[in-house]
Symmetry: C2
Subunit: 338 residues, 2 copies
Amino acid sequence: MRIAVDAMGGDHAPRQVVEGAVAAARRLRFGLTLVGAAREVEREVARAGGGSDTDLRIVDAPDVIEMGDVPIAALRRKPRSSVKVAAELVASGEADGFVTAGNTGAAVMVAHGVFGMLRAVDRPALATTIPTLTGLAVLADSGANLGCRAPHLVQFATMGACYARIAHGIREPRVALLSIGEEATKGSELTREAHQLLKTTRLGFIGNVDAREVYGGTADVIVCDGIIGNVALKVSEGLVEAMEQLLRQEVSRTIGGRLGYLFARRSFRRLRRRLDYSEQGGAPLLGVRGLCIVGHGRSSPKAVRNAVAMAHRLARQDFIAALQQDLESLTVSSAATS
Amino acid sequence: MRIAVDAMGGDHAPRQVVEGAVAAARRLRFGLTLVGAAREVEREVARAGGGSDTDLRIVDAPDVIEMGDVPIAALRRKPRSSVKVAAELVASGEADGFVTAGNTGAAVMVAHGVFGMLRAVDRPALATTIPTLTGLAVLADSGANLGCRAPHLVQFATMGACYARIAHGIREPRVALLSIGEEATKGSELTREAHQLLKTTRLGFIGNVDAREVYGGTADVIVCDGIIGNVALKVSEGLVEAMEQLLRQEVSRTIGGRLGYLFARRSFRRLRRRLDYSEQGGAPLLGVRGLCIVGHGRSSPKAVRNAVAMAHRLARQDFIAALQQDLESLTVSSAATS
């Protein structure tokens, strides 16, 4: 078992990426291939104290796609980018999956181009795991597509349900469609059409959920367009950060507040942990014919470690094969409509 | 000065709507017209102890648009609905503005149909005020439209800036475009086109903001498509509720947590108040030729009171005329493209 990691992808690459990846490989004892500017990566490996006790390889890739790059132009201009070389290692069988915390758009294009799509899938979807009041839920698509049609949402639902089964151990995932209002008659044309299609599938479709219910725990898989999913996630992230700052402001205003904060410190820490994106690792890109995990751009070493551990776990469970099997039984194919 | 209130609109109508509206009229001493099933409304007025000390009228409207109704069908089936009669009172000059906490889609259609649009506006936008780390921001559109084009976003920006000036006293509002990523080259076709148009206006356009920055206080007006805006708001609302529950779970697990909560109780209350939608009252529907404030469907008496007080304030400031004036100086007109 071997996982390739795009060592140059992310706001804190290569240092924190290498640190997190080496930590995962050391703990879980799998082969790790770090892809990037070889000298820089070697230096960071030495700093992370890695090498001797891990099965570690470094593959040189001179080009780096920056976070702000326009994917299509950057990929053309930089043919030997670390993210692309990492994907190619998976395609050639030298690795069982790859992880990147870099430019999401570039990762999606690379995975699509290098792996191709699974049968019965037209578009890939990012599946992000979010915490809810009762456990975890999968949000798909959380940002791979900037506009899609109803059959695509059905594909996202099928893949999201498969992922919830395998990654979260939920035997019969409840699948919901994110919409404005819960009524089937409300929402955009896209959600109204997707609602009708989802009803005809054998998925455990429970209907529409309003955006207010995303964290309520009523659904295990929440399906939406990539823009909507991305905004939902990012707004949430920003709000958690803002609330933490506001709470700190408020408690520091009075002695009672400061005292209370001292006493409740451990509770706050547990809450923070439950809401922390880095606990979940990364989001698998569902629908491509190879294992690709996209980490958060701001990934800390812990987030990278969890994302790499997730890749290892999904590779061991032969996730892509399971996904293909689930898709074969997909009732609605969009081949005709896409 | 007289404000009409749709007494039948909202999850807790008519009781809590009447209670809140009467409280506002009593405190601020303006004329109040309650529109709805006359007998029911009279009963609630009596219960709210209103009548004698306020300039109060009741106008009978036998039909009620329910929250789950499909607006276009319901409005056709129910020609004398409370929301429509309330709007007609404004159009005929018998009231200076109206407030509804009912079905948002119906409110938008009614206001559009009864008032017509201001010059140089193609579509109305709901402008919701949200708290940020540094103050308040206006989010427009927060749910009046289910899909719009770039010139519409420019109109929303112009109207949102005018509203921020008048309602929040911000002399030169910083206007931002909500997008995926901050770069002008990122995002959907809609946001890329809107970015280019906004640059050509005399608005204080500061560029794109990522959804993560919505609560950061970097912008005074945040412009987006109605679906995006609605999802951003609803997700936030659900997340605040979920975090409150999670925090309560966490603090109740240990004695330290419970003690801390006791000490910090006032801090939590202040935080809650800062994040509470009902403090902001309602969202004006910008772009129609009449004053319409849409309240939250779950409005409490306090939320209704604040929404009605907001209508009173904007009517006194002759907000609609100010809006029209601002729109006249709009650089980009979409007349040709819409």
